[in-house]
């Protein structure tokens, strides 16, 4: 079977998974929360883009911007209203709150959009190109470019901006950051807004391939989990590499083993990776001090 075709298709989808994983990793690094509602942030991004671009008829770049802002706002609201007050609670409580949000957001999305399946046109509309024996669409090139671009941008923010350095400080030692005068509440809000914005971008890019419906986020969340586990859950670079890997592995499983296993490939990846490396592929074993 066309290996190059599988590889390019895998990378294109992997770019999306990488963006989802990136959002998960950002929040997890900062607050230790696994955002089970992240798939819904992606869905909100896609539907906001649809509303602005198709229903209202705004130009694509403006619609894109509105969708990203809508996602960011929703993320910041979720953090401020719910998670900030309970961040010290048990993981199960945090997971339940996130799942609660996911149920609410899906329920709300169903009121206007529940009765049909919608399509979002691709950002760039061009026919498939033949490239080195593979068939590539302009949309997939754009997806990979944007996900790598966003990762580089985040790395630059962490490294070169004051807010970025404060974010890192908060991630490494919350109390320490507070003592040296970092407004950690602000950092939490920014982190969630950033993560949600990245999720919304993923939704806008996923829309043309995946179709728009209120439950569209769940498949991407699972693949984002697999990507984050591969990447170690702590690292921006890891999330990108993990995402691309998950995309390619999925295609190779479908291509060379059986399409029956393709859907469960993220679960197989999670189980196998953690079986071999209990702290993630790039994760380190935490040192427990007494």
């Amino acid at each position: 079977m066309g290996f190059m075709t599988l590889l390019t298709a895998g990378l294109a989808h992997g770019g999306l998974y990488a963006l989802v994983a990136l959002g998960l990793v950002l929040i997890y690094k900062t607050q230790g929360i696994v955002n089970w509602a992240h798939g819904e942030l992606l869905m909100v991004g896609a539907f906001s883009g649809y509303t602005a671009f198709v229903l209202v008829g705004l130009p694509y770049p403006l619609a894109f911007l509105i969708a990203v802002l809508a996602g960011a706002l929703l993320g910041a609201v979720m953090e401020r209203v719910a998670f900030r007050g309970i961040v010290h609670e048990h993981h199960a409580t945090l997971a339940l709150v996130a799942i609660g949000f996911s149920v609410i957001i899906k329920g709300l999305a169903r009121i206007p959009f529940g009765a049909d399946v919608y399509t979002l046109p691709p950002a760039v509309d061009a026919g498939p190109l033949r490239f080195a024996g593979a068939i590539v669409t302009a949309q997939s090139v754009l997806t990979i470019t944007i996900s790598v671009g966003i990762a580089l941008m985040l790395l630059a923010i962490f490294r070169y901006t004051r807010t970025g350095r404060q974010m890192q400080a908060t991630q490494q030692n919350l109390n320490g950051a507070r003592i040296v005068g970092v407004n950690t509440g602000r950092i939490f809000s920014i982190t969630w807004a950033l993560a949600a914005a990245v999720g919304a971008v993923a939704g806008l890019l996923a829309g043309p391939t995946s179709l728009l419906y209120p439950d569209m986020g769940s498949e991407f969340l699972l693949k984002g989990f697999a990507a984050a586990v591969l990447g170690g859950f702590y690292s921006v670079t890891g999330a990108i590499v993990g995402g691309l890997l998950v995309g390619v592995i999925e295609m190779l499983i479908g291509g060379y083993i059986s399409t029956a296993f393709q859907q469960v490939s993220p679960f197989l990846i999670i189980i196998i990776v953690l079986f071999v490396r209990p702290h993630g592929l790039f994760g380190r074993r935490p040192v427990e001090r007494v």
């Binding site: 498939p128 391939t209 179709l211 479908g254």
Partner: protein
């Protein structure tokens, strides 16, 4: 024991009163017949909820607007089953025990309805399927359970007969979902192909909610078959046809009745030319915009002006017409027994927008058995008969 006691109290109360409807048949009063319905009103499958139920409700509303049946108007009670076995059971129990409905016309998710089958049989409430497609609902025959929907096995027969009529078909590819709905289709497709000497060159799984079908399209391409059989839901069909176009996979593609809304599939696959080689099995008379469908389209739009008109809008109508017809024939002294007898004597009954006449008998509670094929001609979906067009 308790409900018997309550019934006797109710009966006593009614006897003491002046009501002429002394027969305390649940859900029936002088001016009302209460009919329960259930379906996926919430959750991921709710796209198959109200759009289907509303078609049936439109028929009942129209009857009410014309004065009802023997002076009684039909009152609907809705319950959500979310396509979940435990919730379907709860929904049916609530309709039977708490809402005291006279009859039930509902059930869209095949295996979930099966979870409530014994409950429906035990309750002796007359039951008509809304849209589920498993044979197990009427075979073996249960006295109070009826269906007018085309079952998956019969849908499979329509598909396989069409494939057989395509000139020079030796090899086919099957792209399939793995659920009970797909299995019921495949239970007649595999033997039908074998009997006709057609080889299955590749048997490919395409799961629900797949956002990509690259590997499935490439496998199909490699198999180099004469036709592709698609036992998939509309979204995945659209995704598959999109990739098929991208990688140059040629049809004909023969789809299950789930894909009847061909224009919606085209829309999701990126344009009408994506479905130019798609042939879909159907149990409706004509596509939504067809001449024969006008009456029913207008009926639906009249009662639900804000809904989008789609093929789903017509799934529940045939059962409603069968119910209404039997209610008329059961006469003014309405009892469940009389109603079931009236249903069982239905012969060549009006099926509304469905491509059949409804016939039941004490031995057969599967009312509709005919299907045909739709395809795109000149940018329009049309019915093309049951075999390959000459």
């Amino acid at each position: 024991m308790k409900s018997a006691m309550r019934n006797s109290i109710l009966a006593a109360a009614l006897l003491a009163g002046v009501s002429s409807a002394a027969l305390a048949e649940p859900g029936v009063t002088d001016d009302k017949i209460r009919i329960g319905t259930f379906g996926p009103l919430t959750g991921p499958v709710s796209i198959y909820g109200y759009p289907i139920i509303n078609g049936a409700v439109a028929v009942y509303n129209e009857i009410n607007a014309k004065g009802g049946i023997h002076g009684r108007k039909i009152e609907m009670v809705y319950e959500d089953d979310a396509c979940d076995a435990a919730k379907t059971r709860a929904a049916v129990k609530k309709l039977v025990h708490s809402s005291d409905v006279f009859a039930i016309h509902g059930g869209t998710c095949s295996s979930a309805v099966n979870a409530a089958r014994d409950e429906i049989i035990a309750s002796e409430v007359p039951y008509m399927v809304m849209a589920m497609v498993l044979d197990s609902i009427t075979s073996p025959v249960a006295k109070n359970m009826f269906t007018t929907t085309q079952t998956g096995t019969l849908d499979g027969v329509t598909m396989v007969n069409f494939v057989k009529s395509i000139p020079d078909v030796k090899k086919v590819v099957i792209v399939k979902n793995t659920d009970d709905w797909a299995d019921s289709h495949l239970s007649t497709i595999y033997p039908g192909l074998k009997e006709a000497g057609i080889e299955v060159a590749a048997d490919i799984v395409l799961e629900r909610n797949a956002s990509d079908a690259t590997t499935q399209a490439l496998h199909s391409l490699e198999a180099n078959a004469d036709a592709v059989i698609l036992v998939t839901y509309p979204n995945e069909t659209a995704v598959f046809l999109r990739e098929a176009k991208k990688y140059g996979l040629k049809g004909p593609f023969v789809g299950a009745s789930s894909q009847m809304d061909m224009l919606a599939v085209a829309d999701r696959a990126g344009g009408i030319d994506a479905i130019s080689e798609l042939y879909v099995s159907s149990y409706l008379l004509e596509p939504v915009d067809g001449e024969k469908m006008k009456e029913f389209s207008e009926l639906y739009a009249k009662h639900f002006p804000n809904d989008k008109l789609q093929t789903l809008s017509f799934y529940g109508m045939s059962g409603a017409y069968a119910f209404v017809d039997a209610l008329e024939r059961a006469g003014p002294d309405l009892t469940r027994e009389g109603f079931i007898n009236a249903l069982e004597s239905t012969s060549d009954g009006f099926a509304g927008p469905a491509y059949c006449k409804i016939s039941f008998s004490p031995e057969n509670h599967q009312g509709c058995t005919e299907g045909h094929i739709w395809a795109v001609r000149d940018g329009k979906v049309v019915a093309i008969g049951e075999t390959w067009p000459q």
